[in-house]
């Protein structure tokens, strides 16, 4: 018996000693500290297999497009290895030229159908991150394969791969008095016009089940609260007394709507149901109270902008206890807060001399740091469902455009859009 125990311990020790290097040396992205490694170099191998050359090229272009929208990934230019089913990758050579990650593509066709197997490798640990086969039918399926592969890679690197499965909605000016709602994936694919109505759509927000979009609607006489039923293609609007301002409606995690309504110049945040019937006040007072934001993790907390202390500042209220805490402590003008779904971070806009910038408050450390740096103005931060990426609008290129950054404040990347018209109010939905 003693011998069995001795040999078991002996073999286990050998196993542990040999396996340790691969655990200690692996590709990681430090998403918690700005001092950690915050850029990974990725290479795409030469595609292998006999299929239509345009498929190969299209997939590579789609992968490169997706890589471009992940601020911490950088394409290793001018270095392309040959990779086939029996290739033994010389990982040390890749590591020597600074490559952290490798994508390889194995194409095949049975005459009728075309398939591609995408493999992702961690160069430092010489290991496979994933391999996945996709059936390719057309250009759209090529983009879907690239998006899925990138999602798997993000899942491995940051623990959440939902970015390329999340749809971003935004408002775009169509004519001087016509702002419509559009949506797309963050890489610009599947761009759709969601509405085509007269007047201005402002502050859209998607219900947790993805079926409804609530927004403020302005015509030349009044504001209304509107809700779009995405399957029926109808809009229901509630008409309040003339002069009422309807500001910043948003769905709560419980499926209700929180909206700032101002009947006499002092917007309070009300809870409204899906039939647009008022159920009660969430934030009241004689000050300006607007821009409610909720996290899925802490549905009983509401983050909002209030002028209760003079100028606008960011606050959080625990709806169970009624306790209100101030979030923004520096600067005289802080607005437009967005809390991450995990409840850990609050991004908001601060007005500074050089323009508006986005700051991030960490609810754990209670520290705030700047995550966008202009030039121009950076506005309306919106956390993606992964609580890591943040969309915002910036005028840094002398026109309003959608940008993507991360809660680390990685260099912002412009998202593709449609035309040069004014863009406003990004918001996300994981359900398409």
């Amino acid at each position: 018996m003693k011998k069995i125990v001795f040999f078991s311990v002996f073999f286990l020790s050998i196993l542990l000693v040999h396996s340790t290097p691969s655990f200690s040396k692996t590709v990681t992205i430090d998403i918690s500290s700005p001092t950690g490694k915050n850029t990974l170099s990725i290479s795409l191998a030469q595609p292998y297999g006999n299929v239509q050359p345009n498929y190969k090229e299209a997939l590579e272009q789609s992968m490169l497009k997706d890589i471009k929208y992940v601020p911490f990934l950088r394409r290793a230019s001018n270095y392309k290895i040959m990779y086939g089913p029996n290739t033994n990758i010389e990982f040390n050579k890749l590591e020597a030229v600074g490559i952290d990650l490798l994508f390889a593509f194995l194409w095949n066709s049975d005459g009728k159908n075309t398939f591609v197997e995408i493999r992702a490798f961690d160069v430092l640990s010489s290991s496979t991150i994933f391999k996945q086969t996709y059936q390719i039918r057309n250009q759209a399926s090529i983009q879907q394969a690239a998006d899925d592969a990138m999602s798997r890679l993000l899942q491995h690197l940051i623990g959440n791969g939902s970015l390329f499965k999340s749809r971003i909605f935004f408002v775009q000016k169509q004519a001087p008095f016509k702002y419509d709602l559009w949506s797309m994936f963050p890489n610009g694919s599947d761009l759709k016009q969601e509405t085509n109505i007269q007047g201005l759509i402002l502050s859209p927000n998607i219900s947790p089940d993805g079926k409804h979009i609530v927004f403020a609607h302005l015509d030349r006489r009044r504001h209304t609260l509107a809700i779009l039923d995405r399957s029926k293609r109808t809009i229901k609007r509630v008409v309040y007394p003339q002069g009422t301002s309807v500001i910043s409606p948003t769905f709560t995690p419980k499926g209700m709507i929180a909206v700032a309504l101002s009947f006499k110049g002092s917007p309070s945040i009300y809870e409204v149901d899906k039939n647009l019937v008022r159920r009660g006040k969430l934030i009241a007072g004689r000050s300006i109270n607007v821009s409610p934001s909720f996290s899925v993790k802490n549905p009983d907390s509401i983050v909002f902008t209030s002028s209760m202390l003079g100028g606008p500042q960011i606050f959080i209220k625990n709806m169970q206890t009624g306790k209100v805490d101030r979030i923004s402590t520096e600067g005289r003008y802080n607005t437009d807060a967005s809390i991450s779904d995990d409840g850990k971070y609050i991004a908001y806009v601060r007005m500074a001399k050089e323009g508006r910038r986005i700051y991030l408050y960490d609810t754990t450390t209670k520290r705030t740091r700047q995550i966008t740096f202009g030039p121009g103005d950076d506005d309306t931060p919106a956390f993606a469902p992964d609580s890591y990426f943040i969309a915002f609008v910036s005028t840094r290129n002398k026109k309003s455009q959608l940008f993507l950054t991360t809660r680390q404040g990685t260099p912002a990347i412009v998202m593709p859009g449609k035309g040069n018209q004014l863009v406003l109010d990004p918001t996300w939905s994981l359900i398409n």
Binding site: R233, Q242, P267, G311, Y333
Partner: protein
């Protein structure tokens, strides 16, 4: 010749009256309590239907006589301005409003809309609330000085539709405003 001209004039007036009566907007009923209304969207939002206008008859209508004297209209349309993040009416702005009140008193059929605007240094959602306060500051001044509330409407556009494009104190000052429009 004169008689023919009169007949032609009368015929034109009847025709114009008929056209105007047909186009008149129904009275706007303000619903005190929320009343959800449904409206359909175009099925395919991208494929916007373009309907070519059909010209039945081209009618030249002589410019309608202003029933408000041009100088009175100019007084009503004159804007008032506010300080940064402010909605207080200064004495100078109150003087401008007093002139408008005189015009409104002399023209009891006129209704006006007061629209509140902000400069583009702030953010849109907060500015919608601030713009409303600016419009209401004017509205309340009118009410306090005897103008019936039924003759007034307010709306806030926040920082949308700047009067002046620019990123300097001159442009910002001209954009922090209340603007006036005569409504039916």
């Amino acid at each position: 010749m004169m008689k023919l001209k009169n007949i032609y004039l009368a015929f034109t007036m009847v025709f114009v009256f008929a056209v105007l009566a047909g186009c008149a907007d129904p009275d706007i009923v303000v619903t005190p309590e929320p009343a959800p209304q449904e409206e359909s969207l175009i099925e395919d939002p991208i494929a916007e239907e373009i309907v070519e206008p059909v010209i039945v008859e081209e009618i030249i209508i002589e410019e309608q006589q202003d029933y408000l004297a041009p100088d009175a209209q100019a007084i009503l349309e004159r804007r008032v301005y506010f300080g940064f993040d402010q909605y207080i009416l200064t004495e100078k702005e109150q003087e401008i409003l007093k002139e408008k009140i005189t015009v409104l008193e002399n023209n009891p059929s006129i209704r006006i809309q007061v629209a509140g605007y902000c400069d583009d240094r702030g953010t849109q959602e907060y500015n919608l609330a601030l713009g409303e306060r600016r419009a209401l500051a004017v509205y309340n001044y009118f009410i306090q000085n005897g103008i019936d509330a039924s003759r007034l409407e307010t709306i806030s556009y926040g920082k949308l539709f700047p009067a002046v494009e620019g990123q300097d104190s001159y442009a910002w000052a001209l954009n922090r405003r209340a603007q006036f429009e005569i409504i039916q």
